[in-house]
């Protein structure tokens, strides 16, 4: 390996004084890369490239490590710094701050990732060491072309947009509004409340869901700092942290909110009954003019246009006739609102897995197979059966009930993740069925995941009540009897894995604990807001452990199930956490934007527009008049996509200019590193 060879293309003119700092990261790097040798090599062989000092240290990110750098800057007059350590995602800020503390412009510090890109992905020590050297060489060449940059400061608009009026969004809204700042809460349904409003009881304490939720809903509805926009959807988001411009479509309610008193006479008189597929989960009916439930906030109804007789035939108008304050406005149009906000919280929630997809469980074909959401409505005193647990015929109380866990979850044919809430929800159902009907209850599970405070205790309680647990993923639910005792029943066929035998268990009712899925349009939502989401469609947090409610886009936060399946306490915690992050930002009053961003050299731009659709942050606009593209510096996040895409080389990035990139590549190429032999 010709690792010590550096071809001297052009000697250093002596202007750059570069310090190279190689981190052991304990054994994370030093276990694979010979860091001592790397540092010695850099000091010796990169000297003519401007390196005046090279050091290795156990933990460069520790305060002692940082002090080393600061001391060298002051004493040796370093004007460039290379830190060869972890990914810049983790510690770029740390080292930039250290440089700034020593009086060096922080953008003259460059990190070389020899952990994520070297030691963690290679096993051959010699080859890894050589690669680390090559990367440092590239870093040195690059940093020579760095120029001091100054961050841009933008003021923060203290208003916040929250999308989604479920429990997570409600929590965020109240936290921020109570702190004295304005909140726009946008909800696409006619009322806030989300899924929690549909539930009967909440695990493990069995609090009445409505009793704990509705006070918060009322607070939102009456809060002076909250503008509640229900029956509304966000259509467009422009701008950047501190100053977003959001376009919201406020769908025509066909009801004048100023005049409506929420008396409910219109709903009473409306002759058109419609199956309520949203709030009643398809199990109950509502009218064509409706509020989803009695405690709805706001309690103004909406007219369901596609189902309203007036819009179909031009007659009826029963609602209008009976409305005393004359609040029905048949020709009301959608309104487009423009909101100016500084921060955004997305709390758009989840969709229930469509259990009809698992045809072997018979939902949609066998009447007495129910989904979890249907059951919530059956248990609910305000639901279609006034809380009576009955079969699909509307009257028969089941004598035996089978509850199936993991429906659509932990299954590579559907969703490969655990939906988190189903175990506890199933245990709750077991308890409620037992309490309401006295029926024999079976729970069919793969593993019981009851992992939080008081959850396992609830499992114990359900065991004590005599629920029969069968460990096994149910193979099928059938209505085809094989023996007399199965006639007229639903037969649950399952391997009882703890006894290793196949069992066929006849029951009257089957409950499918369907999993949680991202909203059908979550990927579209992510695009609208310029954030990323997983392949499944869950919104991606900035860091899974250390920054769970922020996103990679500054000023946009996520909370609740939109980020991944979670229960009510976790959703509330995230809602509050996102609010705290927003309040922190608001209190900063202004925010410094990274100066790393792209810009267009207008003379070179051919107007081909190839870059136009590529920007994940909507920072690119095209000027039809001049036929050139422009990049909004405040929106640009410096990802470099457009720079790479531009066929004319007309886009360049501050902090990643073509000069810098070419120099880095040259630096990499100077060292002839042999490829690591591929493991057989």
């Amino acid at each position: 390996m010709t690792e010590n060879m550096i071809e001297n293309t052009s000697s250093n003119d002596g202007q750059e004084k570069i310090g190279v700092y190689v981190c052991h990261c304990g054994t994370n790097i030093a276990g694979v890369v010979d860091v001592v040798q790397v540092a010695e090599w850099a000091a010796k062989y990169l000297k003519h490239r401007g390196v005046v000092i090279a050091r290795e240290y156990k933990f460069m990110c520790s305060s002692l490590g940082q002090e080393l750098i600061e001391k060298d800057i002051k004493e040796l007059g370093l004007n460039r710094v290379i830190v060869a350590a972890c990914s810049p995602h983790l510690h770029e800020k740390t080292f930039r701050t250290a440089c700034a503390n020593a009086g060096l412009n922080p953008f003259l510090c460059e990190m070389v990732s020899i952990r994520e890109q070297v030691s963690w992905v290679h096993t051959d020590k010699a080859a890894a060491t050589a690669k680390a050297k090559a990367m440092i060489s590239g870093g040195v060449e690059r940093v020579r072309h760095h120029v001091p940059l100054e961050p841009m400061t933008v003021p923060i608009n203290p208003a916040t947009l929250i999308v989604g009026g479920g429990i997570a969004g409600i929590q965020s809204a109240l936290e921020i509004a109570d702190a004295g700042f304005h909140v726009y809460l946008v909800e696409r349904e006619p009322s806030i409340g989300g899924h929690m409003a549909q539930f009967d009881k909440t695990f493990p304490t069995l609090d009445c869901s409505a009793c704990i939720l509705t006070p918060k809903m009322v607070d939102v509805g009456s809060h002076p700092n909250i503008t509640l926009l229900t029956w509304s959807e966000v259509e467009k988001v422009e701008g950047y942290v501190g100053s977003f411009t959001v376009t919201v479509r406020k769908k025509a309610r066909k009801v004048d909110e100023e005049l409506c008193t929420g008396c409910g006479i219109c709903q009473e008189k409306c002759p058109k009954k419609v199956i309520d597929n949203v709030f009643e989960a398809g199990l109950g009916y509502r009218k064509a003019v409706y509020t989803p439930f009695p405690q709805a906030v706001p309690n103004f109804p909406v007219i369901d246009v596609p189902n309203c007789t007036y819009y179909e035939k031009g007659t009826c108008k029963a609602c209008e006739i009976f409305c005393a304050p004359k609040a029905i406005v048949f020709d009301q149009q959608d309104q487009i609102l423009t909101l100016k906000v500084g921060n955004i919280i997305l709390a758009t929630g989840y969709d229930l897995f469509d259990a009809r997809r698992m045809t072997n469980y018979g939902y949609g074909r066998l009447p007495n197979v129910f989904t979890s959401l249907e059951m919530e409505r059956l248990f609910n005193a305000a639901g279609p059966t006034n809380g009576n647990v009955v079969l699909r015929d509307g009257k028969t109380t089941p004598q035996s009930v089978g509850i199936i866990h993991c429906v659509g979850s932990r299954d590579k044919n559907f969703n490969n993740y655990c939906s988190v809430i189903c175990c506890m929800q199933s245990l709750k159902f077991a308890h409620l069925v037992h309490e309401r009907t006295g029926a024999t209850v079976y729970n069919f599970y793969i593993d019981i995941r009851a992992a939080f405070k008081d959850y396992d205790e609830f499992y114990q309680r359900v065991l004590e009540e005599g629920t029969l647990f069968v460990r096994g993923k149910v193979a099928e639910v059938s209505d085809v009897p094989r023996v007399e005792s199965e006639k007229g029943k639903l037969i649950i066929q399952v391997e009882d894995t703890l006894i290793g035998k196949q069992r066929r268990i006849p029951v009257d009712m089957v409950i499918l604990s369907a999993g949680l899925e991202p909203r059908k349009d979550s990927k579209e939502t992510a695009r609208t807001f310029g954030i990323s989401c997983s392949a499944n469609g869950w919104f991606t947090e900035k860091h899974p452990k250390l920054d769970p409610v922020a996103t990679m886009t500054e000023g946009i936060y996520i909370a609740g199930c939109a980020q991944g399946p979670k229960d009510i306490p976790a959703s509330v915690a995230q809602g509050a956490a996102a609010a705290a992050r927003v309040l922190g930002k608001i209190e900063q009053k202004a925010v410094a934007l990274e100066p790393i961003r792209a810009s267009v050299v207008e003379e070179r731009c051919s107007g081909c527009r190839i870059c136009n659709g590529l920007c994940p942050f909507n920072a690119i606009t095209f000027h039809e008049d001049r036929m050139v593209t422009e990049i909004n510096p405040a929106l640009c996040q410096g990802c470099g996509t457009c720079v790479a895409a531009c066929p004319a080389g007309a886009i360049t990035g501050t902090g990643f200019s073509n000069d810098q990139i070419m120099a880095q590549i040259e630096g990499l190429m100077m060292l002839n590193v042999e490829p690591e032999p591929v493991a057989a």
């Binding site: 072997n360 932990r410 299954d411 590579k412 044919n413 793969i446 460990r471 096994g472 993923k473 149910v474 193979a475 099928e476 066929q493 399952v494 391997e495 009882d496 894995t497 290793g500 035998k501 196949q502």
Partner: protein, 200 residues
Amino acid sequence: MTEALTISSTPVSDPKQIEDLTLLKEVASRTAGVSNLEMCIQCGTCGGSCPSAVEMEDTPRRLFAMLRAGMREEALKSNTPWICVSCYHCVVRCPQNIHIPDVMYTLKTMAVDAKLVQDSTAPDFSQTFVDMVEDYGRSFEIGLASRHYLKHFPLRLTNMVPMGMGMLSKKRMNLTPTRIKNMKQLKAILKRAKELEAEQ
């Protein structure tokens, strides 16, 4: 203090078991395609779906657990693979996409190789079928049926007279075998295939 640092190791009673922890891998590598056998989460979808599970000594899931535990002899003695009807209900439902019937085929071949088959009815049937195919290139029902039933179900023959006569009179069974033209080619292919199989 020293006590806390001592790790007590449970002695393994049968040292052979340690060696056999490779069993699962061996089965997976001998199975056609990517079996995903190591991905089993023991959920029992297979055992629940199986239409002939009642006849099985071990459900497929349990058999896979035995493979993990390195219980070579017990696993290869199990009648389960021989009772599998290849209906593929388990495959399409398996949350881990395990190719269960193909694993069953592998276990059959391993059981025959290891001479651990307990009931020869099924392996004899397969072998007789394969013999005919290797001789003629085609299956030969009447030859197969007479040889198999005489050996394993002599008492059923009287019950089967109506069916047999019906099949013969309706010419749904040929009295003589059909042979493919290029038997030489097929034999050469199978000979080479058997050598390759033995080399593994």
